[in-house]
């Protein structure tokens, strides 16, 4: 080794050690709280899954198809949703699909609930956005496996840590798209709102949000898709669902099982994507 490299290596910055110390500090001091939180969350998610599984699968599938019709006013889409979900049932993957569905919907809902207000805040305060930007980049690019480990040590195994890693991965998208939607509101209509005496709150609710709505809804669709792509990773730390099947297929080299579970995820993705593409709702 050349002397300069040798010198640098001998003074290695202990980033790993610092990080470990930080997480050890968290587990040592807040273990009870964190575990209580994750237990509560597990209870909630499991309860939702059990509740949905109480319904006969065909009835639940029919209800989802009906929801598709209500959201999009399209009989063709409702029929496609019905057939697609029947296919999953046919593959005997219904229980896993419901588990995945609950996880995905919960993660997308939570990341919208957190991401939209953050996005609005960032759009109104450019300085906040400048600070937020590197954090968002970090959340999206840090390899998923890297934060599986601390989440696992903090929250244990189960659906709850799976939900948390999914939310971490998905929030940046809803923040970014909300930010984009709100900063792209045409200046002319903001001024129209101001000129007719809108308060800040009125300006947000009557001008900015309706104008940004198509972009924010694109954020929702993206959130759902990204959540689905996290399902396989979440299964590594004990979240149930289709991801578990895929991991099992990988572990035992079972092409058939992998193909079936993989196709089920694809069908679920397409169904959710078509159902949530709202935009300006056919008005345009």
């Amino acid at each position: 080794m050349d002397p300069i490299s040798k010198f640098l290596v001998s003074y290695k910055i202990p980033i790993g050690a610092w990080g470990k110390a930080f997480f050890t500090f968290l587990t040592d001091n807040f273990n009870t709280v964190l575990r209580a939180f994750s237990n509560g969350l597990n209870f909630l998610l499991d309860g939702m899954v059990d509740g949905l599984l109480l319904l006969p699968p065909v009835l639940l599938i029919a209800l989802i198809a009906l929801l598709a019709y209500v959201l999009q006013r399209s009989k063709g889409l409702a029929l496609a949703v019905f057939i697609g979900l029947l296919f999953i049932l046919n593959q005997n993957l219904w229980k896993q699909t419901v588990e995945t569905l609950v996880l995905v919907v919960a993660a997308a809902a939570a990341s919208m609930a957190i991401g939209v207000p953050l996005g609005i805040w960032a759009a109104h305060k450019p300085k906040v956005y400048r600070i937020m930007l590197p954090v968002l980049d970090l959340m999206q690019t840090l390899p998923t496996f890297v934060y599986l480990i601390p989440v696992l040590t903090l929250f244990g195994l189960g659906n709850a840590p799976g939900l948390i890693v999914t939310i971490i991965f998905v929030i940046p998208t809803s923040v970014r798209l909300t930010h984009l939607g709100v900063v792209s509101v045409p200046k002319s209509i903001i001024e129209a709102g101001e000129a007719f005496g809108a308060t800040r709150r009125q300006l947000l609710w009557k001008v900015e949000l309706p104008s940004a709505l198509p972009t924010i809804m694109a954020g929702l669709t993206q959130s759902i898709m990204l959540s689905l792509s996290m399902v396989v990773f979440a299964a590594l730390i004990g979240a149930g669902g289709l991801g578990t099947e895929i991991n099992r297929a990988l572990g035992s080299r079972r092409i058939d099982l992998g193909l079936e579970a993989g196709l089920a995820i694809v069908v679920l993705a397409i169904v959710l994507d078509r159902m949530t593409r709202i935009g300006v709702g056919g008005k345009k």
Binding site: I189, E194, P210
Partner: protein, 393 residues
């Protein structure tokens, strides 16, 4: 006449170094110098202008002259750096520059409405929802809102379109929606920021006519920004010309055309047809400036071809042209009169210069007399007066 809006020494600077820029303004620096020294942009400087109730006051200038900037100070879409903008608010007057947020909102909701160049309509709302925007923001109950919106849509002939979305309408119709939205708040003061510039010429003319008709009925105070002098002359009761953020000249349309304050204004009016603005009053020679003969005879022209005998009441007792008795007829009937030399045309002060010229043409360049409402002789227009007005000499 009551003052509706009063700009007093308004300076507007965009940028962070307000104090430095204001000091430069006081030393008479130009916009370019201020930009170079402070990096700030001068919006307008030392603007003082009084707008009376019921007037259409037009702010004119090239782009970047500060006309929109000054207009937008009235509802504080632009923040004034120094000076006052006094706006009539019922029985009292409010300085928009210093008033608190609640007062400003009330002014924007009830006193000052605005029409935008790019319309500023909300595309996800129907026409009636757009027109109701101001009322909705002011918290007007839905039933009353519906009723007022419907009335405004009728006024601008859009009542069949109320359920359509804004983008389904043509540009001219969209701006009618913009007008209706401003009228719906029943605000007495209307700010119009180049409202017709984005429209094609035919529609523009049509909307100008509609605005004038509506104004005759509604009698709002309108501050209107335009870069089109023909438009300004057509609709303005007063015109203010701006250059580089400063007011160059303010006056009635014919003042601007007849007495441009500097070369900038002269360039502006160079392409304006004076016949479309000027009236007999603007070009006549006053009775006292005419050549008086004996026995109450007055020469109407410098060449001494035509004279009137004026009695003690100021009425015309006799007329003579080329030494022969003549009779006098109104310009209003000029088309119907046979061509003959024994007649002298007369006009009212408000008669257009075009009609006066037609009369001169018919009477082989005889002068045209001017009578007031009581038919008293007030002055005369000779061919030279017309030529110098048209040539602006």
């Amino acid at each position: 006449m009551t003052v509706a809006v009063d700009f007093r020494n308004v300076d507007i600077v965009f940028g962070s170094d307000q104090a430095g820029s204001l000091a430069l303004i006081d030393s008479g620096a130009t916009r370019a110098e201020i930009l170079e020294k402070t990096g700030n942009v001068l919006g307008c400087a030392g603007a003082s202008l009084t707008v009376h109730e019921g007037e259409i006051s037009v702010l004119m200038g090239l782009s970047g002259s500060g006309k929109s900037t000054l207009l937008r100070a009235v509802n504080r879409l632009n923040v004034v750096s120094r000076g006052q903008v006094l706006v009539k608010d019922g029985d009292k007057t409010v300085d928009v520059v210093t008033c608190d947020e609640a007062t400003l909102r009330r002014l924007r909701q009830k006193q000052v409405a605005m029409v935008f160049q790019q319309f500023g309509l909300l595309p996800w709302r129907t026409v009636e929802e757009n027109v109701g925007l101001g009322l909705e923001l002011a918290g007007v109950p839905e039933a009353e809102r519906k009723e007022r919106v419907h009335r405004q849509l009728k006024l601008v002939n859009l009542d069949q379109w109320s359920k359509k979305y804004a983008h389904e309408l043509s540009g001219g119709m969209q701006q009618r929606v913009g007008l209706a939205r401003a009228f719906a708040t029943e605000a007495p003061i209307l700010l119009m920021d180049e409202p017709f510039s984005a429209l094609d010429p035919l529609i523009r003319t049509k909307l100008q006519d509609e605005l004038l008709q509506l104004q005759a009925e509604l009698k709002k105070t309108i501050i209107f920004v335009s870069h089109d002098l023909e438009e300004a002359l057509k609709i303005g009761s007063h015109i203010t010309i701006m250059e580089g953020g400063r007011i160059v000249q303010t006056g009635a349309p014919e003042d601007i055309v007849l007495r441009p304050a500097n070369d900038y204004v002269r360039d502006f009016i160079a392409n304006v047809n004076p016949l479309s603005v000027l009236t007999a009053w603007n070009v006549m020679r006053d009775r006292r400036d005419l050549d008086h003969g004996e026995d109450g005879w007055v020469w109407l022209d410098r060449r001494k071809t035509t004279r009137f005998k004026i009695d003690e009441h100021g009425l015309v007792a006799a007329a003579e042209r080329d030494g022969k008795p003549a009779f006098w007829v109104s310009c209003a009937d000029v088309e119907a009169q046979p061509e003959e030399t024994a007649q002298v045309f007369w006009a009212n002060p408000g008669t257009s210069l075009k009609t006066v010229m037609l009369a001169m043409h018919r009477s082989q360049t005889a002068p045209v007399a001017l009578f007031d409402d009581q038919s008293r002789f007030v002055g005369a227009i000779g061919i030279r007066d017309v030529l110098s007005a048209v040539l602006r000499r």
